[in-house]
């Protein structure tokens, strides 16, 4: 139930004194509340949980994580290290 889905903010508006937005989940559009990430802007990606944006996704951090993991692979390749056997 703590599953959160990343989506892209496509529209921001006020409703019932709350900051709401339209979120695009890869084609499916839903409404969500933005009160927990007031700094969000149209085009930002956020994690949505039960109709609330709980976290603004950081592109910089995502790129850094991916680069770090790719770097591990590159170093190993350079050193000619093979992965050990794992369970089939």
């Amino acid at each position: 139930m703590c599953l959160g889905v990343p989506g892209k903010i496509t529209e921001i508006y006020e409703k019932d004194n709350m900051r709401m937005c339209k979120i695009d989940f890869g084609g499916a559009i839903r409404e969500a509340c933005l009160d927990f990430i007031p700094e969000a802007e149209v085009g930002d990606y956020t994690i949505i949980h039960v109709g609330f944006a709980i976290s603004l996704l950081s592109e910089e951090e995502a790129m850094e994580t991916l680069a770090l993991l790719r770097e591990i692979a590159d170093i190993d390749e350079e050193l000619g290290i093979e992965a050990q056997e794992t369970k089939s």
Binding site: M1, F36, I37, S55, L57, S58, K87
Partner: protein, 372 residues
Amino acid sequence: MKYIDEFRDPELAKNTLAEISRTITQPWVIMEICGGQTHSIKRYGVDQLLPEKIELVHGPGCPVCVTPLEQIDKALAIASHPEVIFTSYGDMLRVPGSGKDLFSVRAAGGDVRVVYSPLDAVKIAQENPEKEVVFFAIGFETTAPANAMAIAHAKRMNLKNFSVLVSHVRVPPAMHAILGSPSNRVQGFLAAGHVNAVMGYWEYPPIAEKYQVPIVVTGFEPVDILQGILQTVQLLEAGKPIADNAYKRAVTFEGNKPAQKIINQVFKECDRKWRGIGMIPMSGWCLNEAHMDFDAESRFNVGDIAPEESSVCIAGQILQGMKKPPDCPAFGKECTPQTPLGATMVSSEGACAAYYRYGNIQIPTGANNVRE
């Protein structure tokens, strides 16, 4: 989809797995706290790909599973009132209480509705002023701010026909309970990334230090989980029991301050029973004094329902045919017919009692029969 596809990249997963294999020198037991992560691990076969030295054990992070029986019984009692529209997240409807579930209340004529967001429940209350609308506010820290916001929103609008049955739970007290148990085997935690998106992980360094276990905030995609495992193994191998973050794109140390603020405005910490685990002191949130007007338990006078159930047993899963009694670590050890931990070991018709009595015969469960 951005932020999903990259973290499902098979090449990246393979590389991360290889790095785990190179790093590990001895066996380690790691618990993923969140049921969502358990699903991801099984779905992508992550546990099958890991080096044999890593044992993943599954944690209590399933809000539906740990919602105590008495709260479910209270939900059933409230939902049965003719003037009530009972609203809940969909996954609660099948959870058995003492004898029945919310689906059977609906089948008997009760107005039980599934909502996607707690704000939907508030809207139903606005649209049905002649009805009492009750929302079943369950969940961990991830869900608590949304539920708190719905209550605050109802209070702002002075909605008199809206109330909540609260059964919130918090992760850190559960970690204390697991790590403090004499039978604990967990040497490292993958923390539940979306709980931490809300709460940050400032609560975790003292836990890591006290019990000398690394705690690594972990996401939900396969590469996220492998990265969480890699960082945990690196910390274990280096003898560094600290709290760390492998889900940096979504989680900061401080967490989401506005979300934490609304939780503190609406709720206060309280003792909470966890189904299958038992009472964990100060492990829950309940309404604070300023919001007691929204308490469904007092509004419908169901405060005194108190069924008794289990501690560490997996009876819930056994009863659903998902597990067999020998899968339970307590089976035949802490849990016997003389000292039962769960109903299935007590009842003469219980699966555990039958297995215990007749030995460990591998009788196919209902689920297996269906598959065959």
